[in-house]
């Protein structure tokens, strides 16, 4: 039936002309938002955007507060997933083909080299930015009550990211992959070092169990590659996605990012914040919006500093888009100039000399070179446990959201930095020059070597030092600060030391150029 008296054809052409508009409005229910109400509904009704609040606190938008670190890590993950799918088109995880297919990707496939570089560097970038993000969260006290659990989730994400990178490292099956696999499988076996010396291996053989679980046998072979691939492309990415989801959901439920109690708008904020449009919209200024208003109890977001929030659309979205663009550009430029390494095909008869782990594990490798169990299992577990416990052991709630808490905090951070640099360098110098227990007492039992080595002494020192700080300042926050600074410093210094100063036979050299030619 013709309701308007128009001819069918003219109606059709009319529809055709407005196709673009009507399509757009079918996707974006409200069309381009022109009022605060519409801006709110864009965020609220959109599958991808509703993970963010309708309004965002100005403090969150200050680039100097978050530095965008967590967001960069997220975008890197997305880049990794996307480029990974491309690599899966050509890669084949078998002993015969793995290396060939990677070579293929590198040398033959159109865009293959860039895809592989992007995949590799974005993956390693995730580690860097996760650490930076973690440092930001730590130094702004953002792990404090209400957010402790999200700090734990963050640590789980850090571990998963390490696992993701490591499994990827093993896949090309070149010399680096092969010998890393050998070393990793032996680290997994290393709890035996402890159970053996305690005589427990008969009852409780964790080492063999985990090695067999991951590598299908005690020597890496074709089955291993299959499993590593499975972990790398299925298990870990799925688990990471789930945890990322929880991480973000918790941020929402915890009332957004932390902000200082005494927040006030500065003139410079105008530079990146669009003033709210007070003339239209249905929202009073003194509320946030969500179910949390109905729930009893401490809901962090309700009525807290509402005046200083602005609409997420467009303020937050512009900021996020900017970070995405910078991240993408950074990865592409880096990948254009720097190629991911690919050595000769795996050769089980000729170990690399020096056989080095990927850089993010080299700090551990330095510790491994004192004791396999302590460096590979004991100390990393201790460090992770310590990080996980921080929010539960330090519950002081003052000055949340302020970088380094206060002037004492700054002082403690600087002091711990200096002391840890001196002590850890001193320790390395000592171990390089004088050796360690085995060199002095060749008959010493292995248990002593396992327990007392430069790595465990360093960890002991960190703990004592932070207890001392707690005692001196009367504040657990300051103790945590000292511990965390020392953790970061030792990670960086050990990594640098093992990367640059350990040469063939794990000997000490001032720089790579002094390595003997062999």
């Amino acid at each position: 039936m013709n309701e308007t008296g128009q001819s069918g054809i003219s109606k059709f052409t009319g529809n055709l002309k407005t196709l673009a508009d009507s399509f757009t409005s079918s996707v974006f229910r409200g069309g381009k938002p022109s009022s605060d109400k519409a801006r709110a509904s864009v965020i609220y009704n959109n599958f991808f955007m509703h993970i963010q609040g309708v309004k965002t606190h100005i403090n969150t938008l200050r680039p100097s507060y978050t530095l965008g670190m967590g967001l960069i890590a997220l975008f890197l993950f997305l880049i990794v997933v996307a480029s990974g799918i491309f690599l899966m088109v050509y890669y084949n995880p078998s002993l015969e083909n793995a290396f060939k297919t990677v070579k293929n990707i590198n040398n033959v496939v159109f865009g293959g080299k860039v895809a592989r570089n992007v995949h590799k560097w974005a993956g390693e970038g995730m580690i860097v930015f996760l650490f930076l993000h973690m440092a930001r969260v730590f130094f702004t006290s953002s792990y404090k009550a209400g957010r402790e659990f999200n700090w734990l989730i963050g640590i789980v994400l850090l571990i998963l990211t390490f696992a993701l990178n490591l499994t990827g490292y093993l896949l090309p099956w070149d010399q680096l992959s092969y010998w890393a696999t050998v070393i990793v499988s032996n680290i997994m076996m290393s709890p035996k070092e402890l159970t053996d010396s305690l005589g427990l291996t008969k009852f409780f053989d964790v080492g063999t169990f985990t090695t067999d679980f991951v590598f299908a046998g005690l020597n890496p072979g074709k089955e291993s590659l299959n499993r590593i691939y499975l972990f790398h492309v299925m298990l870990l990415p799925i688990v990471i996605s789930v945890f990322v989801g929880i991480h973000f959901w918790r941020i929402r439920k915890d009332g957004g990012l932390t902000k200082p109690e005494d927040f006030s708008v500065r003139n410079s904020d105008i530079g990146y914040v669009l003033e709210p449009d007070k003339t239209s919209g249905i929202f009073p200024t003194h509320k946030t919006y969500g179910l949390m208003e109905l729930a009893k109890g401490k809901t962090p977001a309700v009525d807290k500093d509402i005046e200083n929030t602005v609409m997420s659309w467009p303020n937050l979205l512009i900021a996020e888009l900017a970070v995405l663009m910078v991240t993408l550009a950074g990865v592409l430029i880096y990948s254009y100039y720097i190629d991911a390494p690919l050595k000769e095909m795996a050769n089980a008869l000729i170990p690399e000399n020096p056989a080095k782990a990927p850089w993010y594990f080299l700090g551990l490798q330095e510790l491994l070179s004192y004791s396999a169990f302590m460096g590979g299992v004991g100390l990393p577990s201790a460090a992770l446990l310590g990080l996980a416990l921080i929010p539960y052991l330090d519950r002081e709630q003052y000055k949340v959201g302020v970088w380094f808490t206060d002037s004492t905090g700054k002082k403690i951070a600087v002091e711990s930095f200096i002391i840890s640099v001196i002590v850890i360098i001193g320790m390395l110098v000592f171990a390089v020059n004088f050796g360690w227990l085995r060199n002095w007492f060749p008959e010493i039992p292995q248990l002593v070597i396992t327990l007392i080595n430069p790595g465990s002494i360093w960890v002991g020192f960190m703990i004592l030092w932070s207890l001392f700080v707690i005692k001196r300042t009367g504040s657990t926050r300051m103790g945590a600060m000292a511990l965390f600074v020392m953790f970061l410093v030792s990670y960086v210094i050990l990594t640098y030391f093992a990367t640059e100063m350990r040469g063939p036979n794990w000997g000490f050299y001032w720089s790579k150029s002094q390595w003997p030619i062999h």
Binding site: N186, P351, A355, S371, A372, R438, Q446, W506
Partner: protein
């Protein structure tokens, strides 16, 4: 009479609680079974590893003073006045292959050093290089079995 009845009823588990508990318990058991099954599934039954015992040839190929690195089997065969013996070339620290030096063996990965009989003299290696059993087959050739260790210093003379 009636009140006693009620009391008795109270002490017994109510029907609702019984069902809840048994549901939870069976659920937990089933979960345990699945987890155990998954771990068992992952434990590989077939292994693609090479046989760990192998022939190295007739004794006359190893006159006194021989030092041979059988790289693909990851073992050194040494022969001196006291007899022939086999030392593993796999570092006991994390599995790199050691190479021979003037004073014994050296691992490239984290700097473990061993002396001539495979005893650790420095570095992180938790124990010495294992010695493997050497036997003689009926055809006269020597057989090294790298799944059987013998105490360091066990040397045998064959003819």
């Amino acid at each position: 009479m009636r009140s006693e009845d009620v009391q008795e009823k109270d002490e017994k588990v109510s029907r609702r609680d019984f069902l809840t508990i048994s549901a939870l318990a069976t659920g937990a058991l089933a979960l345990l079974g699945i987890v155990a099954g998954v771990f068992r599934f992952f434990k590989s039954d077939a292994s693609y590893e090479e046989a760990r015992s192998f022939k190295i040839g007739k004794p006359e190929n190893f006159p006194v003073g021989t030092f041979r690195n059988i790289a693909d089997k990851k073992v050194f065969i040494v022969s001196d006045d006291a007899g022939v013996y086999a030392i593993s070339s796999v570092c006991t620290h994390l599995g790199c292959l050691v190479y021979e030096t003037d004073t014994g063996f050296q691992c490239p990965c984290h700097g473990s050093k061993y002396n001539q009989v495979g005893k650790v003299i420095s570095g992180p290696a938790p124990r010495g290089l294992p010695w493997y059993e050497i036997t003689q087959d009926v055809d006269g050739s020597l057989v090294v079995d790298s799944s059987r260790e013998v105490p360091a210093g066990t040397k045998n003379r064959f003819s």
